[in-house]
């Protein structure tokens, strides 16, 4: 591997900067804050770049961005807004599913409703952070489950459960917006 950190930065970090910014925006919900977070994350990444030996630079960078963002949020005391109840992974999904099939709304109607991008963006940004990060990493950043588990430090089962619940919440809310 090339020992020059600048060259390594160019190959490992630079191509993923846009993803890092987009991810940070979804977490902080603010463009300027996201830039601050990514800048701080890049400083950390640059410092530890010699120790990076893996093959997945994007997941590595997103992990640093995620940790930096969470530190940053808790410094600003914004994380306290997340209620523990929201993050209980044991909540049963079948109840929500049961409600879903009683009301007779066609899937096509839901898909049409989802064409409203502004609404969708608002609903995603209002998801509790624990759900939002998993949903964004999968459905917007396109990471695989085990990569999301690596980035967030959550067990695979928790990743799966939060992803399913995040999507279910969105579908339920879209249905409510329409009724």
């Amino acid at each position: 591997m090339n020992p020059d950190p600048t060259a390594r930065f160019n190959t490992l970090v630079a191509p993923h900067l846009a993803d890092a910014l987009a991810f940070a925006r979804w977490i902080t919900r603010d463009r300027a804050d996201a830039e601050d977070v990514v800048q701080e994350a890049c400083v950390r990444a640059f410092r530890s770049i010699d120790r990076f030996s893996g093959s997945n630079a994007k997941a590595w960078l997103l992990t640093i961005v995620r940790n930096t963002a969470f530190t940053w949020l808790s410094d600003k005391r914004r994380l306290s807004l997340v209620s523990l109840d929201d993050l209980s992974d044991q909540e049963r999904l079948e109840v929500e599913q049961g409600e879903a099939c009683e009301r007779d709304i066609s899937p096509e109607a839901t898909i049409i409703a989802l064409g409203d991008a502004a609404l969708l963006e608002k609903l995603v940004s209002e998801l509790p952070i624990g759900f939002r990060e998993v949903l964004v990493l999968r459905d917007i950043q396109g990471l695989e489950y085990r990569e999301i588990s690596g980035v967030t430090g959550l067990p695979l089962g928790t990743v799966m459960s939060r992803l399913a619940r995040a999507r279910q919440k969105l579908i339920t809310q879209i249905r409510q917006e329409r009724s």
Binding site: F9, Q39, E94, C101, T110, D139, E147, L163, R167, I174
Partner: protein
């Protein structure tokens, strides 16, 4: 019958392409037979599609870059001098030379071609110049190649499969111009290059590998071989390759 917690998790994992073949086939059958699963699957699919189409800003502001460069104490990374591009590509050679040797496309120029394709992909990502012709219309892109290269590359519209065409460019591999189509899935750019082989081959299996976070899939078909490079996850990149390959 109400769905259990595990059913729901399996359904999502199935729609995300995360299940092994046997579990996946089993899920497919259950979705066919169970109207509740069918409805939920259709809703989740619709949501995933809408999320993937949602516009995400890909702009890295110049002011931010300058600030970052000052902070890190590094030079003008975004207009890198020639030696720096060379250094970057040499690193990639060192990285991929071990794993790409077996790929069918490389019959002619075993290492340098894939290296240069990856290099071309990276360089296009770092600049704003990802395509020489920008169009989402394959009727515009295909004729653009006329007169620029001797081969008539296959151009396929994959919008319905969720891959938007951004345009095309010509990469030069071992002194030969190679047509490269540029697609996008969410914000992930896919470079798809088509190379002519010395002799015809059977329609080959899709092979995949990855280096430095970039997934690479290749396949051959008649006298053509295709290489797709992206930071898109491997499952979706393979599905891109399948859609493209099976479109003829």
């Amino acid at each position: 019958m109400p769905l259990t917690h595990d059913d729901v998790l399996l359904l999502h994992a199935y729609l995300d392409g995360e299940l092994d073949l046997a579990t996946s086939l089993n899920m497919e059958r259950r979705i066919r037979e169970d109207p509740v699963l069918q409805r939920v699957a259709s809703e989740v699919k619709g949501l995933k599609l809408a999320l993937s189409r949602m516009h995400t800003d890909r702009e890295v502001a110049d002011a931010f870059l300058s600030r970052l460069e000052r902070k890190l104490g590094i030079g003008r990374r975004w207009s890198p001098p020639q030696w720096m591009l060379l250094a970057a590509s040499l690193m990639i050679v060192a990285g991929i030379s071990g794993s790409l040797t077996s790929i069918a496309v490389l019959q002619r120029e075993p290492l340098s071609s894939s290296t240069q394709l990856l290099d071309g992909h990276l360089r296009s990502l770092m600049s704003s110049h990802q395509t020489d012709v920008s169009s989402s219309d394959h009727h515009t892109v295909k004729p653009w190649f006329n007169g620029r290269i001797t081969q008539a590359p296959r151009v396929v519209d994959l919008t319905d499969q969720g891959f938007e065409m951004l345009g095309a460019r010509i990469d030069v591999i071992a002194g030969t111009p190679v047509p490269t189509l540029v697609y996008r899935r969410r914000q992930h750019v896919i470079s798809l290059s088509e190379m002519l082989l010395d002799k015809a081959t059977e329609k080959g299996e899709i092979q995949q590998t990855s280096e430095h976070g970039y997934n690479i899939v290749t396949w051959t078909e008649g006298q053509r071989s295709f290489v797709a490079i992206s930071d898109l996850n491997s499952t979706e990149l393979v599905s891109f390759a399948q859609s493209f390959r099976d479109s003829s």
